[in-house]
């Protein structure tokens, strides 16, 4: 097969994958990052990297899992980087979140952002992407026991932050 034909087939397969997967993974990225701009950037960067490994990944048969892992790892790295980088990015002057009543979805978003990235990833993968503990462990590259620990701590944290009445979310 000529290189040109191979490239064309690769592009076609990759383009179909992007079209099919974009919406779902964009939403996962939004939950992971808490920021629609950053989510789109994270997903686009991950897809560009995925393209470079497309032949190998698609041959193994699970590009969705590979992309999911890239999103989680990319977000964790980005979080660490931002934490070390400019403190100016985190404004100390912003309003106290508890001072202004928020919609339940906004409260959940704020609560999610207080979780360390791996705990947040466990919550998003378990309860949004509907992955089992074993699949989440594969994405995070850790044991099932670690997933259970992350999950338990994350839910406890969310419980402490979210309203306990019928209006809010009670994990």
């Amino acid at each position: 097969m000529s290189v040109l034909k191979q490239r064309t087939e690769q592009d076609t397969a990759f383009a179909a994958f992007v079209a099919r997967s974009w919406d779902h993974h964009l939403r996962v990225a939004r939950l992971l990052t808490g920021d629609p701009y950053r989510a789109e950037e994270l997903l686009q960067d991950s897809l560009v990297r995925l393209y470079q490994h497309w032949r190998r990944v698609s041959r193994r048969g699970d590009p969705q899992a590979y992309l999911r892992r890239m999103l989680v790892n990319g977000n964790t790295s980005s979080w660490r980087r931002r934490r070390r980088e400019h403190l100016v990015a985190e404004s100390p002057d912003r309003a106290d979140p508890s001072a202004v009543p928020a919609e339940p979805a906004e409260e959940l978003r704020r609560a999610l952002l207080t979780l360390p990235p791996r705990q947040r990833a466990v919550v998003v993968l378990r309860y949004y992407a509907d992955l089992g503990e074993r699949e989440v462990a594969a994405v995070l590259g850790c044991s099932v026991g670690s997933v259970k620990t992350h999950n338990s701590r994350a839910l406890a944290r969310l419980r402490s932050l979210l309203p306990q009445d019928d209006e809010g979310v009670r994990p």
């Binding site: 592009d11 990759f14 383009a15 992007v18 079209a19 974009w22 919406d23 964009l26 939403r27 996962v28 939004r30 939950l31 920021d35 629609p36 701009y37 950053r38 789109e40 950037e41 686009q44 960067d45 897809l47 560009v48 990297r49 393209y51 470079q52 497309w54 890239m70 790892n73 990319g74 964790t76 790295s77 660490r80 980087r81 931002r82 070390r84 980088e85 400019h86 403190l87 100016v88 990015a89 404004s91 100390p92 002057d93 912003r94 339940p104 979805a105 959940l108 978003r109 999610l112 919550v123 998003v124 309860y127 949004y128 509907d130 590259g141 839910l155 969310l158 979310v169 009670r170 994990p171």
Partner: protein, 288 residues
């Protein structure tokens, strides 16, 4: 409804809150082509060699527009002759120096302060700083923060020490985007050079000092786009050793304009030394 179901429902509602964005399929395929070509080229050189190359470059890119020199500088006649206003000649010279500087091993020390600038409110400056070294030939590098956190690059691998443990970075782009104050190391020199190569201004401000201490001084200014509508306006003074023809210092001032937050400023000074000296970095033991 169980608590698990309730959380799942709430997460779906939250994820659906923002409008959908169409997948930029063609653009992603095009960027994939470019990235694949770059990757092939990079693998044939040395991945972190480029990282170091851009350590300095980034500092320059991060150093922005025309901060005035600390004292009146005397223009170098040899440069002045080819230099008119914010010049392409100055830009070309500085870009060349940056590239040369990045090809050697080097040490760096950066420190500065961040401050928020809400009208009518005083804010306390927050300090930051780190030191490190990069050798692109091996390739190895590290940087250390005052709180004990450290990042190491060994070959194609990157490691982070925090919370008493070493972690290996699994994000394949990590080594391209390490942050440390305003010194961000990147493996993509052309990306980092873009701000001063294509936009903003580069001015030759003159020569200061004499003998081994003589430096040529450049003023750099540009605006960089951040996430969404946010921008950072950067001005900086870059000092280049006359004898060494290497970047010696970047004195930077940045103004961050956030759409939904208070504007903020960052001042930093990064000094470079030890060009060509060996850098030793051990591969750490990860975990448990």
């Amino acid at each position: 409804m169980s608590q698990d179901e309730e959380l799942s429902r709430a997460l779906h509602a939250l994820a659906d809150e923002d409008d959908g964005v169409p997948a930029p399929v063609d653009d992603l395929v095009r960027r994939g082509h470019v990235a694949a070509r770059r990757r092939t080229a990079a693998l044939s050189v040395a991945a972190v060699g480029a990282v170091a190359a851009v350590g300095v470059v980034t500092a320059i890119a991060a150093s922005g527009p025309t901060a005035p020199p600390r004292q009146q500088a005397q223009p170098d006649p040899a440069v002045r002759g080819s230099d008119r206003g914010p010049t392409d000649a100055a830009r070309t010279r500085l870009v060349a120096v940056v590239r040369t500087s990045g090809g050697d091993s080097f040490r760096f020390d950066t420190h500065g302060t961040n401050r928020h600038t809400a009208p009518g409110r005083s804010t306390t400056p927050q300090g930051f700083g780190c030191t490190g070294a990069i050798d692109p030939a091996q390739p190895v590098g590290y940087y250390q923060l005052p709180n004990g956190e450290e990042t190491r690059i060994v070959g194609d691998d990157a490691y982070v020490y925090e919370g008493g443990k070493w972690f290996q970075e699994t994000d394949p782009t990590f080594s391209h985007r390490i942050g440390c104050g305003r010194v961000a190391l990147s493996a993509s020199p052309s990306d980092i050079l873009d701000p001063i190569r294509n936009t903003g201004t580069v001015r030759y401000l003159g020569r200061r000092g004499s003998g081994a201490d003589a430096v040529d001084v450049y003023g750099v200014a540009y605006v960089r786009q951040l996430e969404g509508p946010n921008t950072v306006q950067v001005t900086a003074t870059v000092r280049v050793g006359v004898r060494s023809q290497r970047v010696a210092e970047v004195d930077e001032s940045s103004v961050y304009r956030w759409k939904q937050r208070t504007d903020s400023t960052s001042e930093s000074v990064t000094t470079y030394s030890g060009y060509g000296e060996p850098v030793t970095v051990e591969r750490p033991t990860v975990g448990p």
